[in-house]
Amino acid sequence: MKVTLKIWRQPDAASKGAMHTYELDGVSEDMSFLEMLDVLNEELNGKGEDPVAFDSDCREGICGMCGLMINGQAHGPEVTTTCQLHMRSFKDGDEIVIEPWRADAFPVIKDLVVDRGAFDRIIQAGGYISVNTGSAPEAHSVPVPRDDALRAFNVATCIGCGACVAACPNGSASLFMGAKITHLGELPQGQPERDTRVVDMVAQHDHEGFGGCTNIGECTAACPKEIPLDVISRLNWDLHQAMRHGH
């Protein structure tokens, strides 16, 4: 099939960007979306034009490296990552608009590549359990009810892609943060630091320039791992508790 691509091109962080239009023929429906862009890049390279920069690594939907706004939707029309989206979701003659994540806290580096370093810094602020290597007790010394473990797992599947931020009109990272708070908060091992964790992570979140949550729910609709909206309630609950405890 043949598609018309409108792609955001921006040489570097300092330059202004603009949309460019490319026609691409010979696209097969078995191609993944990123393989379609690979084909475009081979063509551009052949013509002596700079290929389009975009991020990807695992191309299996698990590393969280990829992420594009496709026709205004984070990761495109299916509930999956950009790398797992296939061209059979499009049809011959379609026009496809491709942009980078847009958020104040995710500055563009080049074309479709953005800087998500803010996510690492939120984790640094408290998204962990403090246990030095070698000091752990025997694994079976603390049983964890199966349902708690399952709930922790379900939200621990967040891949840190940033689609929730890109989809949110306020550019909030509450879903990402709530997923981590819930993952660690569901487990007995996560209790001792529960108050400080939430307070410190939220402070870092705000400091990075992410917006506040107004409960619109665009984040969870865009999330390829279907992280549920109630992790944000959990985040708010934990924050209130921590404040009541004097943090």
């Binding site: 299916e78 290597t133 797992f153």
Partner: protein, 680 residues
């Protein structure tokens, strides 16, 4: 070039007799001194690690802050080491090419991690895990290292649970286990189909905690392109900031490579797009031996190739073989029919037929080769790519009838979804199609018992080293090794080396630093100034085809020699005719790929030479000349029970590979007896 004296010894080359198996690679290499000392302590095997930990010298806590450690890689092996050494108070610099440490390819591991906890009381023990690993590796691994791996495996689970890794649990709240990869005990811990992700997030969070504590400094979107060796010791690296393009010098007292595997030499593999050999290969060129590079694991259950646009292959977890039955049509005429219309009696469940006792659960290497054989016979299914159908059915209809659709959904839901997304077919209704793909490399940089390479002060951990899996890795053992190395082994062995530090400061204008930096700059300039006509990817794809054809599931003397010629010709063309646009300043993804492909060429050549030299079949390495009457792999312990450690002997300044030097490390088993594997 060679006058292969011994290949004519047997009249039928497919059935080598015991005895002298010639010197197929004569002329392609130079024999070197054997490796005598691996630094493994002597004494009973179950006391060696305790001995080594005790004898390894300690570093005074107040000195640790003055010791600089560079760690390249943030996967399980690198991330765990960065966290642990940071906690101990060393000054760590951590590098990865992705935009966050959490994205290292360990994240993609699905199935699970082994540990000898014996929670099921099913007869497991450290000794049994040790035994299974050595046997699974087809008796080509170093026994003291493997024993240590089994020994520390139990600590890994404790550590991960304490970090909050949400492993699967039973109703009583205790950890669940499953059996995996052809062993008879249940020792695999898992987090649904995302075990690697959960373990890596655990290591990542531990590492980020140290970033906050100021002991670890992280350099993301940085690619290591050279190691700095001063007076025989590794003292730093040259890295390119992939965002600004700046070529940076980072100096340290010790360097750790945890840069993962090099399966992408085949172009198509289950590795990540950026997985590379560059970090390891640059070290190899500076004196680190490369061990058993030809040992490649080809995984039987991957989604088949659909066309020439394909950028990577996707693994479908091995656990599917527990419930799926593998078959192809008996007759070629049926290959393009709808599988549901092919009656039972016209199907060939070839694994069940050939291996009645293990059936669909034979080890990976055996299942893979069997699939290749039936497709070579023209009985493959699915679309034709380059004139051959390369696919076999993995059929769940019997399991669905037995367990119900819900039962299957609960077990494999995410895998079935992924399959449907990629292929557009519904695996609940029509059998899956699978085909083997390159998945893991057992080969890697040679290390001693301390995980130190043949360059002093250069340590290598995780998939990047060769150490624990011999010629074939068991399922769920790579995650175990990565975390064992990173959390529990390296932190002890590296302190013995650092006890002599801090070493004399190296100045940025030291000739070795200047030389290393210039080499990187020259390479970058070369790629950008070669106004060639072919894209990097087109070369990579062609190299991958050569490797897959001649150094893939089955290797032969003629094929390997042909491959070496083809690689050399293609490599020359690459250096003259590659087309890389853009500039050295700023993000330039074609430039990044060009550097990686350049190193894959040299690695590919060495893999073929190693495969040519090893005229035996063992684990993932199958030589057509070395098989039994009924086509099974045949080892030759009398001649090949050694690790092949290759020394680079080319001119580091020119593109030339030279003639590599082969150092043999003899494998001696004191705690286990060598046997031929049988799965019939």
């Amino acid at each position: 070039m060679t006058d292969m004296p011994d290949t004519t010894l047997t009249s039928d080359p497919s059935h080598d007799e015991p005895g002298d198996h010639g010197d197929d690679a004569a002329g392609y290499y130079t024999p070197g001194e054997p490796i005598k000392d691996t630094k493994a302590p002597t004494g009973p095997i179950d006391e060696r690690w305790q001995t080594r930990k005790f004898e390894a010298r300690l570093v005074n806590p107040s000195n640790r802050r003055k010791l600089d450690v560079i760690i390249v890689g943030t996967g399980l092996a690198g991330g765990a080491a960065a966290a642990t050494l940071g906690e101990a108070g060393y000054n760590v610099k951590s590098f990865c090419y992705q935009d966050s440490p959490r994205r290292a390819h360990s994240i993609a591991a699905q199935g699970g991690i082994n540990a000898a906890k014996n929670y099921k009381e099913d007869g497991d023990s450290v000794h049994r895990l040790f035994y299974d690993t050595v046997k699974g590796g087809d008796y080509r691994s170093r026994e003291s290292n493997v024993y240590r791996l089994a020994e520390v495996s139990t600590n890994i689970i404790d550590q991960c649970v304490a970090q909050g890794v949400p492993f699967a649990r039973e109703y009583g709240g205790l950890l669940d286990n499953r059996s995996f990869g052809g062993v008879q005990v249940s020792r695999t811990f898992y987090a649904r189909g995302q075990t690697g992700q959960q373990l890596l997030i655990g290591a990542y969070q531990a590492m980020e905690r140290q970033v906050a504590a100021g002991t670890v400094e992280q350099f993301t979107r940085h690619e290591m392109l050279e190691v700095i060796v001063v007076d025989g010791k590794a003292r730093g690296i040259i890295a390119r900031d992939l965002v600004t393009g700046e070529i940076e010098t980072h100096l340290a007292d010790v360097v750790v490579l945890a840069s993962g595997g090099y399966g992408n030499v085949f172009f198509l593999s289950t590795n990540a797009m950026g997985s590379n050999v560059t970090a390891a290969w640059r070290a190899h060129r500076k004196g680190a031996y490369m061990a058993n590079p030809c040992y490649t694991q080809i995984h039987p259950t991957c989604i088949p190739v659909t066309g020439t646009h394909q950028s990577k292959l996707t693994l479908m977890s091995e656990s599917l073989r527990n419930d799926g039955r593998i078959w192809v049509p008996k007759s070629k005429a049926d290959c393009d029919k709808d599988p549901r219309d092919i009656p039972e009696e016209a199907r060939d469940y070839y694994l069940e037929r050939i291996y009645p006792s293990f059936g669909n659960l034979v080890p990976r290497d055996i299942a893979s080769r069997a699939a290749k054989n039936v497709c070579d016979e023209g009985r493959g299914v699915g679309p034709e790519v380059d004139g051959v159908r390369r696919g076999v059915y993995l059929d769940f209809s019997a399991a669905i009838a037995r367990l119900g659709k819900d039962g299957i959904e609960e077990k494999y839901d995410n895998l079935f979804d992924m399959y449907a997304r990629i292929t557009g077919e519904n695996p609940y209704e029509t059998p899956m199609r699978i085909y083997p793909a390159v998945h893991y490399v057992m080969g890697g940089l040679w290390v001693d018992y301390d995980l130190q390479s043949s360059i002093e002060g250069l340590f290598v951990t995780g998939e990047a080293n060769f150490s624990d899996h011999g010629a074939n890795r068991l399922g769920a053992s790579a995650l175990m090794q990565g975390l064992a190395d990173g959390y529990f082994v390296l932190p002890h062995t590296i302190r013995d080396y650092l006890a002599d530090g801090p070493f004399e400061k190296v100045a940025e204008d030291h000739p070795a630093v200047v030389e290393a930096k210039k080499a990187v700059e020259d390479r970058v300039a070369h790629f950008l100034n070669t106004s060639g006509t072919r894209s990097v990817d087109s070369y990579h794809r062609e190299l991958g085809n050569i490797m897959w054809e001649y150094c893939g599931m089955e290797r032969s003397e003629d094929g390997l020699k042909k491959a070496i010629d083809l690689i050399r010709t293609l490599k020359d063309d690459f250096w003259r005719n590659v087309k890389v646009l853009g500039t050295a300043e700023g993000l330039n993804q074609s430039l990044e790929r060009a550097g990686r492909v350049a190193d894959f060429f040299e690695l590919g050549e060495l893999m073929c030479i190693d495969a040519l030299n090893r005229r035996e079949s063992c684990g993932g390495h199958f030589r057509a000349e070395s098989q039994t009457e009924d086509g099974e792999a045949l080892r030759h312990d009398d001649q090949f029970a050694y690790v092949a450690a290759w020394e680079f002997a080319g001119d580091p300044d020119s593109g030339g590979m030279g003639t590599p030097v082969l150092h043999k490390e003899e494998l001696v088993y004191t705690a286990i007896e060598m046997k031929q594997r049988s799965y019939k």
